[in-house]
């Protein structure tokens, strides 16, 4: 078992002929002995690197979600998101054949129909940034969710900057 980027460790249950071992600690390991029985053990970080270094180096980049925020009623980024953009685009560019889903959202100011349109414009705007750095358009799906999926739940006609966003899911 390997710790994740946040240091947390998951759980794997190893089964062999009716016996089971639960592995849920960092570097916990299970070894099948030559007589077929399971032996609880640990694998050192060094041993992990030695036996699995090449394998681990081939893991694809982790799927990530990025958020970009927009000015009220517009498909223009906030100044903060404008300064985040370069870093986000650099991550996208580093991924070979990325699978990207861009989903636009709005706050609850304005009609549902207008917000559907605005959320799609926001998603298309972000798609434009991505194709602008050379990512093929056919690797990017876009959707506009309007005001259906509020990040911060609010009543109707509430100006909420955190809801005026576009989510970029990349794998």
């Amino acid at each position: 078992m390997l710790p994740g980027p946040d240091g947390k460790v998951g759980t794997v249950v190893v089964e062999r002929q009716g016996t089971r071992q639960v592995l849920d600690a960092p570097y916990a390991a299970s070894h099948v002995r030559s007589d077929g029985s399971l032996q609880a053990s640990r694998i050192s970080e060094q041993e992990t690197a030695q036996s699995f270094g090449a394998t681990l180096a081939a893991l694809p980049a982790r799927p990530t979600v990025f958020l970009l925020y927009f000015l009220t009623g517009k498909d223009e980024l906030t100044p903060e998101s404008t300064s985040d953009l370069d870093k986000i685009l650099a991550d996208m560019k580093a991924r070979p054949v990325p699978d990207i889903v861009v989903t636009g959202h709005t706050d609850t100011v304005g009609s549902a129909e207008a917000n559907d349109k605005l959320s799609m414009q926001r998603a298309e705007r972000v798609k434009g940034f991505l194709t602008g750095i050379g990512i093929p358009a056919d690797r990017i799906q876009v959707a506009g969710r309007g005001e259906r999926e509020l990040l911060v739940p609010t009543a109707d006609n509430i100006d909420e900057p955190r809801n005026r966003r576009t989510e970029i899911n990349v794998r």
Binding site: E15, R16, P96
Partner: protein, 145 residues
Amino acid sequence: MRWIFTALLSAFAAVALANDIGQVKVTKGEVHVERDGARIPAAVGMPIRQADRLVTGADGTVGVTFADNSLLSVGPNSALAVDRFSFDASTHEGKFDASLQKGTLAVISGKMVKQSPEAMKIRTPASILGVRGTEFVVKVADPGT
């Protein structure tokens, strides 16, 4: 006539997409995908399907992403069969069965395991691993060592 041809093409495209469960994102050295009795050299961008077998040579490694965001990588001198994969993007329910027949494997589990623990199972010649999360490695020792 052209219209019919286009309609047929998009039907094939839809079928191809439905069968694609993952994609090769990383390859190094000698890597093949065995599919329907054919042995296809793996390349970045190649779709992966259920029943594919990933086979690497002494210098080969390959990394694959799957539809539920599971990540797998296979080390040198290895063989991994993707026995079964299904995933519902709405409910995040799914099944992922793979068999490491030889060599090494690294796994970062994805959305289906988050939704239902042990939705993913990895078989080795000696054991079955029920995956509740998240990052781990597996090695099948060479016979005779």
